[in-house]
Amino acid sequence: MNTLIIILTVSFLLLFQFDLKAQQKYESEYRMKSEMIPKSAKQFIDLIGPDLNVKWYKEISLNDVSFEAKFKHKKKQFSVEFDTLGILQDVEFVIKKSEIAPKVYNKIKGKLDSLYHKWKFQKIQTHYTGSNNDLITSVNKNKLSDEMKVSYEIVLKGKALGNTQLYEITFNDQGEIQNIQQIVQDKADHLEY
């Protein structure tokens, strides 16, 4: 009986925690011509590589507006975010799960196992924040400075309480959850019917 009470209590707490943290992610994005982008943002990208084929986007979420540069560099898909004044926010690029340190990956996996009955990665990105120089060095020479902050942004399909949804979860470099957002999928009735 005591065991059953403990199990029910822990399950209720996990449910409560999950429900509190899974905010919904709303984001829209628009392609932008490079002439509309702040000069400082374009200069930063030129320091990474002057001949990059960059596509610029304006991203609007519930609380924020930003510019994003997307490009392929050294066989990696990069996304560099700036605020509306062209001040660098972060650099992110797509990685495979094997590129996460085993100790950190095991912690992430354990956390996901506790949240979801079943889950599957859709995309993993490494997130770097830091000074402009540190970020350029990390991108071009794959060297991280101690002042830089590293996190992992994971998009996954997760099944909990019989319901499968798409989530974006941010983990810090120790594998601890920072944020969970449920991704609201676009309507597809014009494709389905």
């Binding site: 309507k187 494709l191 019917y193």
Partner: protein, 204 residues
């Protein structure tokens, strides 16, 4: 080859009931404006063809898939026919393109013709024309291609459809599209027929 051209306006209303169920109502009508029956004769001539009303119910099967069942009533000048519909729809993605696959069977019942049975497969591709995902007040390109196998009175027929569309997202609920629905059928008995419908689709 016989060629006919017409107008095909549609109105689609989709309503989410809860997280697992949604319903779709659709009204469509067809109006011929041109036909080219023989090399010697081609006519611009208006000819009302038919109107369809359908109601479909969908149940979510997975994150990006659903089972759909429904009925359609077809009103023609001299007949009313009924169709039962079963579909399985699922979504995949290639880079920024959404692909929706639809596998369907339907059965058409008429008082003056044998029942027709069809097996269909359609793939619809959406390409946003501004950004990597579709947002309000943006244009998109949509391309459908479908193959339809039909049997009626032990006679088999095959139909292909190619449908390019240009669409616009008016708001969170509504989209409007302009397209050309090209239908090529009657291959098997060598009486190939092309019907091209100028489509205007309103989704709400």
């Amino acid at each position: 080859m016989q060629t006919r051209v017409g107008l095909l306006p549609t109105v689609n209303y989709n309503q989410k009931i809860n997280k697992d169920w949604d319903i779709n109502f659709r009204f469509e009508s067809r109006h011929f404006v041109f036909e080219n029956n023989t090399p010697e004769s081609s006519n611009f001539k208006y000819d009302y063809s038919l109107s369809d009303i359908s109601a479909l119910v969908a149940r979510k099967a997975g994150l990006n898939s659903k089972f759909v069942v429904g009925v359609l009533t077809r009103f023609e000048p001299d007949a009313v026919t009924y169709r039962t519909i079963q579909q399985f729809i699922f979504q995949t993605k290639i880079k920024s393109f959404r692909l929706v696959h639809r596998i369907a069977t339907d059965q058409t019942f008429s008082s003056n013709e044998a029942t027709e049975f069809r097996l269909r497969y359609r793939v619809s591709a959406e390409i946003p024309l501004s950004g990597q995902k579709l947002d309000v007040k943006e244009f998109y390109f949509k391309f459908n291609t479908e193959v339809l196998n039909g049997v009626q009175d032990n006679v088999y027929d095959l139909e292909f459809r190619l449908v390019p569309n240009i669409g616009y997202v008016i708001n969170e609920q509504q989209k409007i599209e302009l397209g050309l629905d090209n239908r090529l059928d009657s291959f098997i008995d060598n009486q190939t027929r092309l019907i091209s419908w100028i489509t205007i689709n309103w989704f709400l």
